[in-house]
């Protein structure tokens, strides 16, 4: 391989390029704002390994010091904040950063594949830009993870020691996976330009990075889910089967749920970053790029959001299978109002995502013809949102309750049960899907001869699916035809739970069929105009920010419910929480902690982005391409 340096040609063997570079060690923006990586890959990997080893060794030393010098205790109290709040906030921050660093590589690789397949440099640039942001986030995740580990050991020694006994072998696996993740993450980044001509190999590195990332998630999930639905231990807490402790009831559903949620979360944070860059852009070219990035990030987030409720149902089913009591406490006990909060959040997410799509129609000439659909869609979404957010029991004064005949309102109380809520969630998903379909058609005119028939079939599917969803929702109240008992009786709870499966399958099937039909309909379609990226009002970018905040808040809320459902147990049914913090706080207190944590997360992520941007502009010294 020959390269010209200062007018002289010299030969560099490919292996040497892995460690040495003819360029200064840094990243820089080329004229067209493209980031160019010059640091040799092995050097980058070694840098990453040193960094993570240093962090992990520091953790070991601190743990040793805590064990050696602090007096033995079951619990230790952290002054001012309290032990539980400290663990809660640090764990949540670790989780949010973890979700970001696991979610972003997934769609970075997807974007790279799309870019390589369609020979579209823009996707490659998007993937690269975000991979660069990962590294500071990696460090932040590791730092919060280390603080969490030390805090757990220092504040909850009895619990920590027990978990150590059960999961010690998985620690080794976890550490090895972390090293694997670091190696592939750094290789993925530092070989971006080196493997420009060998995209397949570079994509393979990205896939390996994601395999390691997902494996890390699965190991950590084993610890968390064991606390909720323990397996492989006797009632007295003796380990009987390590694999059963890992593969407990909630493990696989949480793995799937978190995997999808990480993609949605990563997408929303990417969109928020793009929104910030759009708002601060100084040129039309820059604005166009970040508009497109925001749209893509949001598209990925919403795509991942749609299957999320289904993954949640599976998790709920497993929790009920493990302990009916735990399931009922989660859905109907002290946590029941938090599901209303969840409805408010997801309802807002759907409304905001649709609003963003509708505003996006302004950047597509030809999309005006679909604006007539906006009002009916808004009505459907609004009604569904209201139903979803209706509580089963009302907050009422004694006098009001007497007039209602109890805590349940005679009409509104009916909307507060799962039959109604499952129905409206599915209708909201269908409405959002329709919004996207219309947006996608904005600048296209179908040319196939069977277009009217195809479009008719699509509407038929959507209409039939909506009716099917509503039918099972209504049937959840009364067994009108006597299929499950005497006709007209109340449908038994264990039967009506299963109706959500019929609804979900119908919605998934409809979306699949309508998408396939749409792809066929608009193959070789006539384009009326190009999408005018950058032609979006500033408020659209605040919608993207709103989506990111709501996603993050939702993560905090669901994490609280998942963890809180253990109630007075560190490990449900195995180890009781006998600390002074063994109580469920009020919803107001919990939402305040969640809000402060989310605020802290946005503070830290803004810092990470700022540092990454500073590094990208070549302002950092020291030679590393990454901060």
């Amino acid at each position: 391989m020959e390269e010209e340096i200062q007018g002289q040609k010299r030969t560099i063997n490919p292996p040497d390029r892995l460690y040495h570079s003819t360029q200064p060690e840094r990243s820089e923006m080329s004229n067209n704002q493209e980031l160019v990586v010059h640091t040799p890959p092995l050097k980058g990997v070694l840098k990453g390994l040193k960094k993570i080893s240093l962090i992990l060794l520091s953790v070991y030393l601190i743990l040793y010091a805590v064990h050696r010098f602090l007096p033995e205790a079951e619990y230790r109290h952290l002054p001012l904040v309290g032990s539980r709040i400290a663990i809660w906030v640090v764990a949540q921050l670790h989780l949010m950063f973890g979700a970001f660093v696991l979610g972003v590589p997934i769609f970075a690789v997807i974007a790279e594949i799309i870019g390589a397949k369609g020979k579209n440099e823009r996707y490659d640039r998007l993937a690269k830009e975000f991979t660069q942001l990962l590294f500071l986030a990696f460090t932040t995740t590791a730092v919060f993870g280390s603080i969490l580990l030390v805090a757990l050991f220092a504040l909850y020694p009895r619990f920590f020691t027990f978990m150590q006994k059960i999961f010690a072998p998985s620690w080794l696996v976890y550490v090895l996976l972390i090293f694997g993740e670091v190696i592939f993450a750094y290789l993925y980044w530092y070989t971006w330009d080196l493997l420009k001509e060998k995209k397949g190999l570079h994509i393979l590195l990205g896939i390996l990075l994601n395999i390691f990332g997902t494996a890390i998630l699965c190991v950590a999930n084993a610890w968390v889910t064991f606390m909720m639905t323990p397996g492989g231990v006797s009632p007295s807490g003796a380990l009987t089967d390590t694999w059963k402790a890992i593969a407990n009831f909630a493990w696989m559903p949480i793995n799937i749920h978190r995997f999808i949620a990480n993609v949605a979360f990563g997408g929303s944070v990417v969109a928020a970053y793009a929104a910030y860059r759009f708002l601060t852009a100084t040129s039309q070219e820059e604005r166009a790029h970040y508009d497109w990035m925001g749209y893509t990030g949001n598209f990925i987030a919403v795509c991942a959001l749609i299957p999320l409720p289904f993954a949640g149902y599976w998790l709920g089913t497993e929790i009920y299978a493990f302990s009916e009591q735990m399931g009922i406490s989660m859905m109907g006990g002290v946590f029941s109002w938090l599901w209303i909060m969840q409805a408010v959040l997801i309802g807002s997410l759907f409304l905001a995502a649709n609003y963003y799509l509708w505003m996006g129609m302004d950047r597509i000439r030809g999309a005006e013809r679909f604006k007539a659909y906006i009002l009916p869609l808004l009505v459907i979404l609004g009604v569904c949102f209201i139903v979803w957010a209706t509580p089963h029991s009302m907050v009422a004064s004694l006098e009001e309750a007497r007039r209602m005949g109890g805590a349940h309102h005679p009409l509104l109380g009916l909307l507060g049960v799962m039959s109604a809520k499952n129905t409206v969630v599915n209708l909201m998903i269908l409405a959002t899907f329709l919004s996207f379909m219309l947006y996608r058609r904005g600048n296209k005119i179908e040319t196939v001869s069977w277009a009217p028939l195809g479009k008719g079939a699509q509407w038929l599917f959507l209409g039939a699916c909506s009716l099917w969803v509503i039918f099972w929702g209504v049937y959840g109240y009364r067994d009108f035809f006597g299929w499950y008992g005497p006709a007209g009786d109340v449908t038994p709870a264990n039967i009506r739970v299963g109706f959500s499966v019929y609804q979900v399958l119908a919605v998934l099937l409809t979306m699949a069929v309508v998408t396939v039909l749409d792809l066929l309909l608009y193959r070789n379609a006539r384009l009326t105009a190009e999408v005018e990226w950058g032609k979006m009002p500033p408020r659209s970018q605040y919608v993207l920010l709103f989506l990111a905040i709501s996603f993050t808040w939702l993560m905090g809320l669901m994490g609280y419910i998942r963890s809180g459902v253990r109630q007075y147990w560190h490990i449900y049914g195995v180890m009781k929480d006998t600390s002074p913090d063994a109580y469920i706080p009020t919803i107001g207190f919990a939402t305040t902690v969640i809000s402060l944590t989310v605020l802290a997360f946005f503070g830290f992520i803004a810092l990470v982005f700022r540092m990454a941007m500073a590094s990208k502009q070549g302002s950092t010294k020291g030679g590393g391409a990454l901060p």
């Binding site: 040497d16 460690y19 050097k43 070694l46 390994l49 040193k50 080893s53 240093l54 992990l56 060794l57 070991y60 006994k165 999961f167 010690a168 072998p169 620690w171 080794l172 976890y174 550490v175 090895l176 090293f179 009632p235 007295s236 003796a238 380990l239 009987t240 390590t242 910030y276 708002l279 009916e324 009591q325 009922i328 406490s329 002290v334 209303i340 909060m341 408010v344 959040l345 907050v395 109340v490 709870a493 264990n494 605040y542 920010l545 709103f546 905040i549 808040w553 109630q567 007075y568 147990w569 449900y572 049914g573 109580y583 469920i584 009020t586 919803i587 107001g588 939402t591 809000s595 946005f602």
Partner: protein, 301 residues
Amino acid sequence: MKGIFPRILLFVIAVEALYTFIGMTMPQQKSLPPPTLAFHLGMDVDDLVKMGREIVTTQKGNCLICHTIGPSPGAKPRCPDLAGVGERAGKRRPGYTGEQYLMESLLDPGAYVVEGYGKIMPRADQPPISLNPAEIKAAMAFLQSLGGEVTVKLTKEDLEKKAAGAAAVTPEQKERIERGDSFFHGVDCLTCHSFRGQGPGKCPDLTRIGAMNSPDYIRESIVNPNAKIVQGYKAGVMPVNYATRFSKEEIEDLVAFLSAQKGEVEASGKDYAFWVVLGVGILAFMLDVFTHTGRGAKSNG
């Protein structure tokens, strides 16, 4: 563009404040752990019923998560209505007194399930409910009071025993376990079985047998070894004459010893993890130094 960042910050705070406000408007209830109840011998029936009410209707027993006391309009409860259970209890199962029926319902709820309901109730004496015998008696007294006559009485044994999950070893049991230990190591079990790292492993490992199986299962495995075969092992390997070869007392000692084998294994993966971290750290550092000095200099030259 300078004003964008404060505007975004304000926006983030506003959205968060909105969500916090929504949370604040919801019912604010702090949920405390169930209280510890104090029982004593010769307790008044009314006091026992009062304690029972505390257990059944609060988070101590969590019964009303699924049961109701009185009709529940508009929805069928997950578990039977408890109103009138004191009167019904004696008529539910032929040959059972009301007290026996209630006791069975709490300690072995799957044994008899009322028609039209599912087998979903957990044992009241085991985690996460973990009622002790005195608390179970109190719950029974309260249930009897719902339409029936309270016949349950607290005994000295009820007050001494703990919940099933936390049963303590008595001196007699300890003695039996020690005899079982000597017997176990004196006979030929380890010819085929493995135990705490010893033995060939031709038959199942007994290190954690007590944590995984009941004494009845262990007893059956000794006297009738082919009745149940652990997955992955063959039938017909273990001698079938132990019931006649050993005395009943010896078998009970062996059962007590094996039942006590809970096998709390402390794996040492964390130590390996430490050495892996240290090793990788040192290796990365050395490689870096090496490439900076040796090969690096050569290549650059």
